[in-house]
Symmetry: C2
Subunit: 222 residues, 2 copies
């Protein structure tokens, strides 16, 4: 039996982040999910959740963790010798840079992108009215972040250097939702050539496309 257990739905951006990391590190694990199917209500349950507020629990006998980025760091540390060995870099300096860009993702990319995913991808399906002020504010924030990224990615292929790391990985779930469900946000990425080239590279990774396949299921659509 796998000693690593993940409780949650691949539809959650938080869970998707952890699954990608586990696939990259070639860790054996169990995914335990509970989907609720309503009789007549045809709306997916997961749409009722804030993208960033979905439940996630990671257990491996030693640790129980609930924050997706903390979990990714733990997995990369705990399984240092297997799978993708570049996820956390190959030395103290590389690691410092990766952790810094992971904090950047969490602090300045995640808030606006999660808000936009919620209001522009999920809320319309639920009939929730969008908060126009929030949307406009988040769009401006995201544009600024992408400008920083585009400059950075002009100098190197990935955010923390010339290798794909956890810092890039953390961007996959929200960016995927925006690129595939929100044309007006996809345009923001497409307008920035270095960002776009980076996105095409990281979103084509087989470990990630496997997670996309898992998300394609109808989770809790009744």
């Amino acid at each position: 039996m796998a000693s690593v257990q993940v409780f949650g739905s691949p539809a959650s951006t938080e869970v998707a982040r952890v699954l990608t990391c586990l696939f990259e590190k070639e860790v054996e694990f169990q995914l335990i999910r509970t989907d609720t199917y309503k009789g007549k209500n045809r709306r997916p349950d997961y749409l009722k959740l804030q993208p960033s507020g979905e439940s996630l629990t990671y257990e491996d006998g030693k640790s129980t963790l609930v924050d997706s980025r903390a979990i990714c760091l733990h997995i990369a540390d705990n399984y240092a010798e297997q799978g993708n060995k570049d996820l956390l870099g190959r030395g103290r300096l590389e690691r410092a840079s990766i952790e810094q860009w992971l904090r950047t993702e969490s602090q300045i990319f995640d808030p606006p992108s999660s808000t936009l995913v919620f209001y522009l991808a999920f809320a319309p399906l639920q009939g929730i009215e969008r908060d126009e002020e929030e949307v406009q504010k988040s769009k401006k924030e995201l544009e600024k972040v992408l400008d920083i990224y585009d400059k950075r990615l002009n100098e190197m292929s990935f955010l923390a250097g010339d290798k794909f790391t956890i810092a890039d990985l953390a961007h996959l779930p929200n960016t995927h939702r925006l690129m595939t469900m929100v044309p007006e946000c996809a345009a923001m990425f497409e307008e920035r050539p270095n960002v776009m080239k980076w996105w095409e590279t990281i979103s084509g990774r087989p470990k990630w496309t496997r997670v996309v396949d898992l998300q394609k299921e109808a989770p809790a659509v009744a």
Copy 2:
């Protein structure tokens, strides 16, 4: 919280039968599944199971059941007043005929079709050698069953009369595997016009295609 809980994978023919019945009856339920993802092993776990030997548990507070047909009967009885009310017929006589055809499915259709699904759909993916004698024997048996069905379906649209019932429903999972994964068996259905018309009708039901969508996920592919 849904009081009905189903433990198992939609990939299992047994579980698929129960899910179809729950969708038809518009019953709210929770599906609890555990998928194991191996590090380097790319083989789906479910392929290691005999199609008919997969685990399934149904719980609704009052009952814990493990046989898919018994579960379907229980659901249709327990939720008689909701969803599809024809599944078990509208009277004692209709019900007797439906139960008889359900037994026919279980006793003479299921054994050869399960064997053929195992040896011709799943075994090749696992590198398990086919038992040629078993395969030939099962093919002959299935041909005989389909001859009986073709005659019956010449007289009426569905096995137990002019309505889709549990007796037809029970045939969906194995027939779907044969039709989509085993051309030589699909041909057996296609050669019999009444069987084929029946299959096209029952396999196009939205409640069933929803289960097919759930099966399309990569369950436990690592």
